[in-house]
């Protein structure tokens, strides 16, 4: 009787911790509650996330990532990785180019009007990244990998066209 109870307890503990390890280190699902990544990810989408890409530094420019908010460490933000260390990015909110330093990343939302991101609070340390967003699984009619926005005018071009328009007017 006792032996069976002990065995059951041990199996439960190890099963639960195996679940925890899988979700924490290998991959799980997450829900995005944010409009800053529209149209790639909309409010309430469920996605597959993979912390492996962050832990083993397999991230590339253009990936969508979950990141701890720098000003409020209990909340999570979902942004697109626009610059890794050593890159130069154009900050179109402040209007000048910035160099992304060692161990830092540059995050921006696709929905540039509604997103509060690196353009306003600067580059973030890599250690704040949590996981890469790999695949959208809900809603069903939009199941699929998360695409790069097709031919988005880059921030630099936008600023240039703006200045040109100003000059011509």
């Amino acid at each position: 009787m006792f032996k069976a109870a002990r065995k059951g307890f041990l199996y439960t503990v190890s099963g639960l911790s195996a679940c925890y390890c899988t979700l924490r280190f290998i991959g799980g699902i997450g829900r995005c509650e944010d409009v800053s990544m529209e149209p790639a990810i909309q409010h309430g989408d469920v996605v597959l996330i993979s912390p492996i890409h962050v832990d083993y530094k397999k991230l590339q420019k253009g990936d969508v990532v979950f990141c701890r908010a720098p000003k409020n460490s209990s909340s999570v933000i979902c942004k697109r990785l626009m610059g890794m260390e050593g890159d130069t990015v154009f900050n179109n909110e402040k209007g000048f180019e910035e160099y992304v330093g060692r161990g830092q990343v540059w995050l921006e939302g696709d929905n540039q009007e509604a997103s509060i991101d690196s353009r306003s609070y600067g580059q973030l340390p890599y250690g704040l990244l949590l996981s890469k967003v790999c695949f959208r699984i809900w809603p069903l009619h939009r199941v699929g990998p998360i695409s790069f926005p097709e031919r988005r005018t880059t921030a630099k071009e936008k600023a240039q066209t703006k200045t040109e328009a100003k000059v011509s007017s």
Binding site: S14, S17, P70, K71, R102, G103, L124, Y126, G127
Partner: protein, 178 residues
């Protein structure tokens, strides 16, 4: 013999995830390397100290001035630092050779090693986000001579103005005057 091996594999399969989950959620033991926390840690200069990291206490992200914490280095994500929290959000602190004044932004803190002369800390990289802090260091486990709690250390008040006493600009029709 075969049965013995089978038992061992089964034990490992059951034990390893539990161990990893336990060190990730509750407590972990790590060695300290570097001299940045002398004389509190590594007082002899060789990397022999073991500390107990309390991750559970850090998960609520509530820290106090003077606590020893472990954090991921903001300059290099694979590096692990152990430092003392000197100032929390809203505090005003003087630092460096020229006594520059800095206001700690929201959600950030200022960390420093006890050995200020050779420590890679906020004096180099500025305030760090609380999200980078992984654990509170609560005890020294080894060497046995220094076994015991890591005490909080009161910050020196000629450098630090706590956030309640910082004189901010007065509010004037909703505009903040500097």
């Amino acid at each position: 013999m075969a049965r013995w091996i089978k038992h061992m594999i089964k034990g490992a399969i059951m034990f390893v995830p539990s161990y990893v989950a336990f060190t990730d959620i509750f407590y972990a033991v790590r060695t300290v390397d570097g001299v940045s926390m002398q004389p509190t840690l590594n007082a002899e200069g060789n990397n022999t100290d073991f500390v107990l990291l309390n991750r559970w206490a850090a998960s609520s992200m509530q820290f106090e001035r003077g606590e020893v914490v472990s954090l991921v280095s903001p300059k290099d994500p694979s590096q692990w630092l152990i430092k003392r929290v000197v100032a929390l959000e809203g505090d005003r602190l003087k630092f460096g050779y020229f006594n520059e004044s800095v206001d700690i932004p929201k959600g950030h803190c200022w960390v420093e090693g006890d050995n200020r002369q050779c420590s890679m800390d906020s004096n180099n990289f500025g305030p760090v986000s609380l999200g980078l802090i992984t654990a509170k260091a609560s005890r020294v486990l080894w060497p046995p001579r220094r076994w015991g709690r890591l005490e909080k250390q009161e910050p020196d008040h000629d450098r630090l103005t706590p956030c309640e006493q910082v004189e901010r600009g007065k509010m004037f029709f909703g505009w903040e005057l500097e």
